[in-house]
Symmetry: none
Subunit: 224 residues, 2 copies
DNA sequence: CGCATAGTTCGTTCCTCATCGAAGCATTCT
DNA sequence: AGAATGCTTCGATGAGGAACGAACTATGCG
C-alpha cells in the first residue's frame, strides 16, 4: 500500500547469504569475475550467475566485459555506503564474537572500504585533519578547508584533479562507529598509501597491513 | 565461508515488504502499537506479530509494554541510519516515477492513515492548530493547548471523552515528510469530516475526496 | 577447424517462510 | 465477575525463490 522507494526490494537483494558474500567481496573495491564471486559465495557457477543477474537488475552492480571474462563491481559509493551501514548494524546486534582472531584485529585497524581506507587509522586521520582545519566538517558534510590544497599538494595529491565525484564524503565506520573519509580524496590517499608501499593488501581480505616504516610515515603525515 | 558480521541476516529482515513497511512507519520516530503496524504493513495481526518477533530477535526494534499496548520503536539511530542508506539506494536505482495518476494526486492531498487524516490537508491543519496555539508541540510530542477544549467543543468534539489512547500523537506523512495529527483527537476530526459529509472515502483506497463545500468548511474551521 | 575455458539459460527439485484463522493469554473497563 | 480489547501462539496452507545439472553461447588457443 505504501509508496515511496522500494526498500524491501533492495534489502532482499542483500538479504540472501550468497549475494551478501558477493557484495562483501566486492567491498574490497576490485572488480571480480563471475567465477571468483561464485567461489567467494560458495555456490555453483549457474547459481552465481543467477544472483549476479538479480544484483544487476537491482542496480547494485556494474559489469565490464573483457574478452570472455565479465568483471563485476559495485555500482557506486552509495551502494558501498549502504553495505557499510548494514554491516554496522549487524556488528552491533550480532552475536558477540567469541574470540576475535588476529585477522579481525587487522581489519579493525585498517581495511579497504570500496576505494578508500577504513578502520581505526582512517578514523584517526579524519579527526586529525579536521582538528588541523585542513578539512571542515559540519554534521555529515565534509568540505576542503583553506589550507587543504597546499597541505595535500605537499604529499603529492592534487585535490582538484578528480571532478566527477564529490571530493570529500563521510563514511560511517562499522568497527569504530564514527566516520572516516571517503570521496575522491579518500581514494587518492589510499592510492598513495599502497603506491608508496606504506602498506599492503592482505590476500583475499579487505585488511590493510602497514609495515613499520609505513606506519611511521602515515603517522608523520596524517596524525601530526 | 566469509566471516564477519551477518549482514544477510539483517538485510533479509528488512527485505520483506511487510517488515519494510513497518520499519518505514517507525522512521517517524514515534513508537507504534502492533495493531497500528499491522495496518501500516497491510497484514493481519498474527502476521504482524510474527514479523515483530523477528525484528525484535534481530535487534532492530525495542518494545515498551504499557498496559495492554505494546509500543514498538526502532532500536536506535544506527538502525535508522541503515534504513536511510537503503532508502537512498532504492531511491537512486528505483523505477523512475512513471506518472502519478489522479488517484495518487488525491492520496497526496488527503487520505486515511489508520484512523485519522493524512496528506497535505492534514499537515496544513496541524501546522495551523499549532500556530494558533490550540495545540502545543515540542519535537514529536503534541499536547493540548489552553484553548483546545473550547476550540474543539465549538465544532462538536469533546477532547476528553476518549481516554483510552493518547489524545494527540504526531504521525509522519510520507508524501509530505512532515507530521500530521494522530491520536484520538485526530480520529475524532476524521470522524467529523466523514460524518458531516465534508468528504467521502474512495472505495478500496485510502484516498479521501472532499466535496467543494466540504473543502470550504474544512478550510474555514481548521485553516483559519 | 576442434578443443578448452568463461558464462548464461533452462527445467526441476526442494525448502523456507509469509500468510491467515482459530484459539489462548493478558490487561483494562464496567 | 464478565466483557472487551490488544497481542501472541499454534497449525495448516501456499508461493516464491535458491539450488544444481545439463545444455547452450561466446571467446580464446593451437
Amino acid at each position: 500500500m505504501r509508496e515511496g522507494p522500494d526498500i524491501a526490494r533492495i534489502a532482499s537483494l542483500v538479504g540472501d547469504p550468497a549475494r551478501a558474500n558477493m557484495l562483501n567481496a566486492l567491498m574490497g573495491g576490485t572488480a571480480l569475475t563471475a567465477s571468483e564471486l561464485a567461489h567467494e559465495a560458495g555456490v555453483s557457477l549457474p547459481t552465481a550467475s543467477s544472483h549476479l543477474g538479480k544484483l544487476m537488475e537491482g542496480g547494485l552492480l556494474t559489469v565490464a566485459s573483457q574478452g570472455r571474462h565479465r568483471y563485476y563491481g559495485l555500482a557506486g559509493p552509495q551502494v558501498a555506503g549502504m553495505i557499510e551501514a548494514i554491516t554496522g548494524v549487524a556488528e552491533a546486534v550480532g552475536p558477540k564474537r567469541v574470540r576475535p582472531g588476529p585477522r579481525d584485529g587487522a581489519m579493525r585497524v585498517a581495511r579497504v572500504c570500496y576505494d578508500h581506507l577504513a578502520g581505526e587509522q582512517a578514523v584517526a586521520m579524519l579527526d586529525r585533519l579536521v582538528a588541523k582545519n585542513v578539512l571542515v566538517r559540519d554534521e555529515q558534510q565534509i568540505r576542503l578547508g583553506p589550507s587543504a590544497a597546499s597541505h595535500f599538494a605537499a604529499i603529492g595529491i592534487d585535490v582538484y584533479t578528480r571532478p566527477r565525484r564529490p571530493v570529500c564524503r563521510a563514511c560511517l565506520d562499522w568497527s569504530v562507529r564514527r566516520s572516516h573519509l571517503a570521496g575522491t580524496l579518500g581514494a587518492a590517499i589510499l592510492d598513495k598509501i599502497l603506491a608508496d608501499k606504506w602498506a599492503r593488501r592482505e590476500k583475499d581480505s579487505r585488511a590493510v597491513i602497514f609495515s613499520l616504516p609505513g606506519k611511521q610515515a602515515f603517522e608523520r603525515v596524517f596524525l601530526r
